[in-house]
Amino acid sequence: MNALIGLLCGLIFGVGLIISGMANPAKVIGFLDVTGVWDPTLAFVMGGALGVTALGYRLILQREHPIFDKQFFIPTRKDLDVSLLGGATLFGLGWGLIGLCPGPALVAFGGLSTQAITFVACLCAGLWLAPRLIKQ
């Protein structure tokens, strides 16, 4: 059952990224490039996703627990620390350089271009390295 849920949610998420144009780095850069010929599409993607998720969460979180687990797993931290803001800064830098964030990168990986494979390999290396670098 877990495998089916994961596969279905991943597929819907991926198709959403493709339909919205966000799997195409040029489209994302077009949004971030505010002094160029600006492409506002990403704002509508975020608007649609935020609207549905905010409403969905509000309804779902009234339940005692999710259908296939005993509790909801919602982050509870409220403090703003160096790790959060420094991490967001590094992420923004990498995102702006190429126009791929993790979701679209994995979708692009399915297109099997050398560019996408290179990016995803380094993305995985970065995810794996980060906590080990901090520990040193």
Binding site: A3, I5, G6, C9, G10, L11, I12, F13, G14, V15, G16, L17, I19, S20, I29, G30, W38, D39, T41, M46, G47, G48, A49, V52, T53, G56, I60, R63, D69, F72, I74, R77, D79, L80, S83, L84, G87, A88, T89, F91, G92, L93, G94, W95, G96, I98, C101, P102, G103, V107, F109, G110, S113, F119, A121, L123, A125, L127, W128, A130
Partner: protein
Amino acid sequence: MIAEFSMWQGLAGGVLIGLSASLLMLLKGRIAGISGILSGVLERSDQWGWQAPFVVGLILAWPLYNLANGPITFEINENLVLLAIAGLLVGIGTRLGNGCTSGHGVCGMSRGSARSIAATFVFMAVAVLTVWVKRMITGDAL
């Protein structure tokens, strides 16, 4: 100047992303944050059973969509060194910052989390600035 843009495709795609995030919360009670899910797969977390299939679903979206609707537009910078640096930065940054565009930008902001709102503001601002500087230096935003 504003480019020709695709409001309805954007909204429709966004709605699907929201549906996926809501479905994952309803069924498993988990946040649909892609960097967190991919980290879980790499670290063989106890949630591997749904996380790995989620990643497989994301990867299969392209070939399946391609079969049904034909080729997908994909324009990207072809410099492999730049791609590698950007990939590393996105990986390290999202792991340290506990989330990316999906986890903080969509799921976190939907719940009004202060940490997610701050993180989203920071990575958006830095990304806009990065594109601006890149255009100044190379003459091309892509």
